[in-house]
């Protein structure tokens, strides 16, 4: 039992939650352990209970109970977050929303849909398969849509379709004290009042529960061109990506793999046509003529920058193979060194500095002696190192930490952000003061106003002040 909770409060909450949820309130060690951590670094926080609500009303009733007894609440989706967002570091209830997994409505006429928070992106796309529509955001993991909103996720399609910031039209949110609010409207835009939708998107469960989402969908493109383009140097690959962006060539995906990552993917995903060279994966969506024109212009640009190959995926299967390989970068990194773990960085910088930042980072990796492939959504300035380290080797872990820290600070130095899409959780809290300055005080004021008891996902996102005089 965590220090912060008295046995009495926990017992009372337990009794009331059991009454509410029956056997959907679980205290088994196995279930609690499963809910004590996400992916990424091993930073667990054991919840006292795991709850499986099935409706927004149940979440609201749960919140009212926890609020009355001072029990921390930690929203939990697919458990795929990378920064410790779901660890119950102060105990309490892990609220698993995966049983709220209904697609409530799809409107082809307005290109939107209404889903419960536990629906995953792949589930939604399976549901949409015959509708001519799809949900374009693609963070790799089969995350829940509620979790993706909570972390402001994006992924490979963000250049073309935006991030969760852009595609969420509205939310149903349960406040820490159990009120139900609905943000946004079904209209594409609105100018009425504070943008609560965008406030909850990216709030990582610290302001309330996202229980339902209204999302924009996209029409399946009539034409798609997808190609692998390889370069003799990393500089040439990033330079091509940067120029393409500056020329407004509208790739919907523009992904970089450095030579180490390319090599890892070739081995792991058996991409036999590729060489272990700096690589761009690029994809265009649109009308057939338009995508051919765009791809042609991109290819010319790449050739002007010295590209050595241009290989188009001719079939849907070839495309799937390619993007599956891209999404397996994490596993491909780990396979480079059996028994290792992978520490992901998440810098995002202004496009004009991307080449400089990536080259400086690669030099830093080389001098660190670590294996750390670079992979990136370079169309929007976001890139990841997959730092491979042996969890049993304290020195290697320390060098990995130091390398990751330099990546975050370098991004800030170039006017960027320490996290483009993974969020803050536990691991990036140390950078918030530097990134946001006095803005962090505004975030604290909002947190205090909307979660006055500090029960929503406590210990995350917003670092506490060194001293908090007067509480």
């Amino acid at each position: 039992m965590p220090d912060t909770l008295t046995q009495t409060a926990t017992d009372r909450a337990s009794a009331e939650l059991s009454q509410l949820l029956g056997d959907r309130l679980v205290t088994s060690r196995g279930d609690r352990t499963h809910h004590s951590h996400g992916e990424g670094l091993p930073d667990a926080g054991m919840p006292d209970f795991v709850a499986y609500p099935q409706t927004t009303d149940e979440v609201a009733a749960l919140a009212a109970i926890c609020s009355a007894h001072g029990i921390p609440m930690v929203p939990y989706g697919a458990g795929s977050s990378l920064e410790g967002q779901v660890a119950a570091v102060r105990g309490g209830v892990s609220v698993d929303l995966t049983r709220m997994n209904r697609v409530l409505d799809v409107s082809p006429g307005s290109l939107d849909c209404h889903v419960e928070a536990g629906v995953t992106r792949m589930q939604l796309n399976r549901h949409l398969r015959d509708s001519g529509l799809f949900f374009p955001l693609d963070p790799g993991a089969d995350a829940t849509l509620g979790g993706m909103a909570a972390t402001r996720a994006s992924g490979t399609n963000a250049v073309g379709y935006g991030t969760m910031r852009e595609v969420v039209l509205g939310l149903t949110v349960v406040t820490p004290d159990g009120r139900i609010i609905r943000t946004g409207t079904r209209a594409r835009k609105s100018a009425t009042g504070y943008d609560l939708t965008r406030l909850y998107v990216g709030s990582e469960g610290t302001l309330g529960f996202i229980t339902e989402l209204r999302l924009r969908l996209a029409g399946q493109p009539e034409g798609v061109v997808c190609a692998v383009c390889q370069f003799p140097t990393l500089e040439a690959a990033v330079g091509t990506a940067t120029l393409a962006r500056q020329m407004d060539l509208r790739a919907v995906r523009l992904e970089l793999l450095d030579e180490v990552q390319a090599d890892a993917c070739i081995r792991y995903s058996k991409l036999e046509k590729m060489q272990p060279l700096p690589t761009l994966f690029v994809e265009f969506h649109g009308t057939p003529q338009a995508v051919r024109e765009q791809a042609g212009l991109f290819r010319e640009l790449a050739e002007d920058n010295g590209s050595v190959s241009w290989d188009e995926a001719e079939t849907l299967e070839e495309r799937m193979t390619l993007w599956t390989a891209r999404h397996s970068c994490y596993e491909a990194c780990i396979a480079l060194k059996p028994g290792s773990r992978n520490m992901g960085t998440d810098a995002c910088v202004p496009i004009e500095h991307l080449a400089e930042v990536i080259l400086e980072t690669q030099a830093d990796v080389k001098s660190s002696g670590l294996i750390a492939p670079i992979v990136g959504h370079v169309g929007d300035g976001n890139f990841h190192l997959g730092i491979v380290f042996d969890p049993e080797d304290a020195d290697e872990r320390a060098r990995a930490d130091a390398l990751a820290d330099r990546v975050s600070r370098r991004a800030l130095r170039f006017g960027g952000t320490c996290s483009g899409e993974h969020g803050v959780g536990l691991h990036k809290m140390r950078y918030l003061a530097e990134e946001h300055g006095e803005g962090l005080e505004i975030m604290r004021a909002i947190k205090a106003a909307l979660d006055p008891l500090g029960l929503m996902n406590p210990g995350k996102l917003i670092p506490e002040r060194a001293e908090t005089p007067g509480g």
Copy 2:
């Protein structure tokens, strides 16, 4: 002097503000009257002073003084807001930011720029003229960029380029007590912390002063096709727009004029080629081949829906004439009835309901006996009535009010918003409870947290509770 201020506080603030600003603190009746209202309906609130700060630091010093003495502060830009946002309804200082009009930085490499809040959109575009870049948002009025952010403005290009919600990368904001915060980064996306940028965008000066903005820019398109397409019925015109949107034909502008508005524009702007019929103005941006393909598909779609003409603007001058005419709709409406005023509505609804809502609205106009042309950014579901009324005729004004009220409530009934782009100000406050429900309490909590003394643009945006027990 307003009731809420004591003479002593006002005198002290006046002395300190004079010391800060010298002759840039003005009390002349003419200047105060000019700053007592925006455009749109005549709802004036006279400020006690007008201040003309020149730097963010001066705004911060001003805010600290006003905060110490309890003086209301009302940010003022070009004065082009339509919903009473700049009226000093509780007196205090109108803070005119138009002398903060420097373009601080333009980065072609990152497609962004950094400007002071008083720069207008046309000024920025003049500055960018030879850069190959432009600022795409186009609300008609030559509004300041700070004002556009404060009201979450958009305009004719929003379908293609987004609204201020999408194009603002970051802001410099002065808090009511005079702290300076910087929101966002120069990176295209970030997942670190609450989205303060989006919170201030659309906050209408009620949470602080926007003093500087970092904005996304767009590259000048290589290819443009702009056309006027006319239809025998309003239903056919709206149906074409709706289908085009559903087919993901990427018009960057898609504007509707009903037959009354078309007639008004023909007379006012001398558009000799047009007939007084329901009309779409449509524009595509992209590579030359792509825009031709898109325009061709759009034209086919229009013809399938019975369009009677397709007339492309061949030259830049012809395009300018067309868009100038579109932006003169307001004046063209007033010219229909000399001595009249124009009351604009601003409903925005889900695309699938747009045709039904517009047709129901046109029938409502007809039965009201009023002249009220319809014009709309139909690509995103937003449309305006320009209700022409005689300000001396109480009965006509009452009928105009009732018609406008029905438009707002109809939008809510169809899952939309009472304001797509003009904001709330004074006039739309009555709809917020219906549109946001319990969410309004969250907005109140944010307002209380970030402006605890209630000095920023008081009496606007967030309606007060009927009773506020315990203050």
